[in-house]
Assembly symmetry: C2
Homo-oligomer: 180 residues x 2
Amino acid sequence: MSFRKKTMQELGRSASESLKIPLVLVLDNVRSAQNVGSLFRSADAFGVDHIHLCGITAQPPHREILKTALGATSSVAWTYHASSRDALQRLSDQGYTLCALEQSHDSRSLQDWQWTDVQAHVALILGNEVKGVEQSLLDQCDDVLEITQVGQKHSLNVAVSGGIAMHHIYQTFAARESQK
Amino acid sequence: MSFRKKTMQELGRSASESLKIPLVLVLDNVRSAQNVGSLFRSADAFGVDHIHLCGITAQPPHREILKTALGATSSVAWTYHASSRDALQRLSDQGYTLCALEQSHDSRSLQDWQWTDVQAHVALILGNEVKGVEQSLLDQCDDVLEITQVGQKHSLNVAVSGGIAMHHIYQTFAARESQK
């Protein structure tokens, strides 16, 4: 066995070879442009179809976003909405299952969440670095997903927790597709 | 069902209530202090026992680390090593299974990796933001884990990929424990 690192050429993937899944991201007042950039990069990696940037969330082009997104702002479509509430309402009207990533009562462990046939389209809602997802938005959601943590702190960076959630959601989507 | 957000008091967990698992992190020349801080925060969340900071990796106390670690530098023990190679050798001598997170030939999909009884202790090795884990270190490893990606880019931020890997490794450890 030889763990030879893959070259850029071996890793290359064109736009037509890349995959999109019926998953969109909603960023509710994400303050840091670096986090937004990192979330674009993870969204590209895990097939996210669209990012809805809401409220005070920074928008491309922005120096800090471009620096951390490493080109992903051109491979993932996005839209800006002044109101997170209106954005969620529109997605709900379009048939999206609204899943927030938050630490709340009646939340479900992310690990237990599977993409079933009930969910045609899924929207993953991520919140502000300090305040999290607004309570009024949680009240609009169909589900709250929580990442099990066992440390003394009880928070993860939003780009990290968003990456973990997108990775899991992509994996359960791919598992469902492979069973069809 | 009411998705009422948990309060800080409801989330609180003391040092004695927090959990550590036999998992250590090795950071091989991680350039950004912000990434180091974020990795400390995720390490706290997923029970990482120790962080080995190697080569040019920044060490606490450092303004940028403290800003992003949000206190986790005091809840996760760490050691600095000038040489990543020596650090890995020592961990191998101590019986650690060395698993690098990288995109290489003969890598294993992270999702397929399970913590079995063969592995008493696991070391997860993360590499530099641009160059990844050094080839010479990969050659020392028992396993290379790769995160499946489907986008046009082919890289994730190291704090994000590290968080995804720690989350998965913690989950498989917990699953094994619950079966005992």
